[in-house]
């Protein structure tokens, strides 16, 4: 086998004809973290997909569900402890008020480049045709009910149903 492909240029596979890459038609994005910086990348990618005409569904699981719980969605915080990206000593990050301070700084910067608060962002994505789901296992684990979630949530679904909805598309885990 190695013999047969030895004379092919690197990166070329024998017997495969080259075709132009097809545009992405559908993405399913899993949001599993509940910090501000854990939630936003998924929302930005979901909204960006719709802007490009790509079908999108968002699946919130574990602490990521805080982003779709009405009472919590607009109170997410930046993690200042255990987050090397903050470039801040752990003990400093643990001081009272530090997470609130970092969060308000980040929210100000986001507003400047027109990134909406979580609640508004979810409405935007949903109005744009994006689907929003909560994870069945997480909902049961945290003893949550449908009424704990924002109106944009289209359903509480199992992992199996998530894969069914993701059929034929790409899955992004954040």
């Amino acid at each position: 086998m190695a013999q047969a492909t030895a004379d092919l240029p690197i990166g070329k596979v024998s017997g495969v004809t080259e075709t132009a890459p097809q545009p992405i038609q559908r993405v399913s994005i899993v949001v599993s973290h509940g910090s501000l910086e854990g939630v936003y990348p998924g929302l930005i990618m979901a909204n960006g997909a719709r802007m490009e005409g790509i079908e999108v569904s968002l699946f919130f699981t574990f602490f990521g569900m805080d982003a779709i719980i009405s009472k919590r969605m607009d109170h997410l915080k930046v993690a200042t402890v255990g987050n090397p990206g903050m470039h801040m000593p752990t003990l400093l990050g643990a001081l009272p008020g530090m997470s609130a301070f970092a969060t308000s700084m980040m929210k100000k910067e986001m507003e400047k480049i027109d990134i909406p608060p979580v609640g508004e962002f979810l409405t935007m994505i949903h109005d744009a045709g994006g689907e929003v789901y909560a994870c069945r296992a997480s909902v049961d684990m945290f003893h949550l009910k449908r009424e704990d979630f924002c109106a944009e949530v289209d359903g509480i679904i199992s992992v199996g149903q998530f894969y069914e909805k993701a059929a034929g598309g790409q899955i992004i885990f954040t």
Binding site: I44, N47, G48, R50, M51, E52, G53, I54, I113, D114, I115, P116, T123, M124, D127, A128, G129
Partner: protein, 105 residues
């Protein structure tokens, strides 16, 4: 880069297939591009979006974000996606004769 032909004229396009020279744009051409993009008729709401995008681009050098567009043009998010079903970022800016928006939101 590519070109497009309309009534005897050949117009230059950029790498994304948008008009390379904004001076080539006019309302008839917008209708022509829209038809090619699968929008057979430009309604007053389409024009509200197109004209708003052109005004902002003229002032600021980039198309507005979707969020700002829906807040300031009078066309809400749901309607915007109905008007430009295959993605407002690409389609509306293309019909408006503008480059693809640089922003992520």
């Amino acid at each position: 880069m590519g070109t497009m032909s309309v009534v005897g004229k050949t117009l230059a396009l950029d790498a994304d297939g948008h008009l390379a020279n904004r001076a080539d744009w006019n309302e008839d051409l917008a209708r022509e591009i829209a038809a090619q993009e699968g929008i057979p008729l430009l309604t007053p709401q389409h024009w509200a979006v197109i004209n708003y995008m052109r005004t902002i681009f003229e002032k600021e050098g980039d198309a507005p974000s979707i969020r700002r567009l829906t807040k300031e043009s009078g066309v809400d998010t749901k309607t915007l996606y109905q008007l430009f079903p295959k993605g407002p970022a690409k389609r509306a800016s293309k019909i408006a004769g503008l480059p693809k928006p640089k922003g992520c939101i």
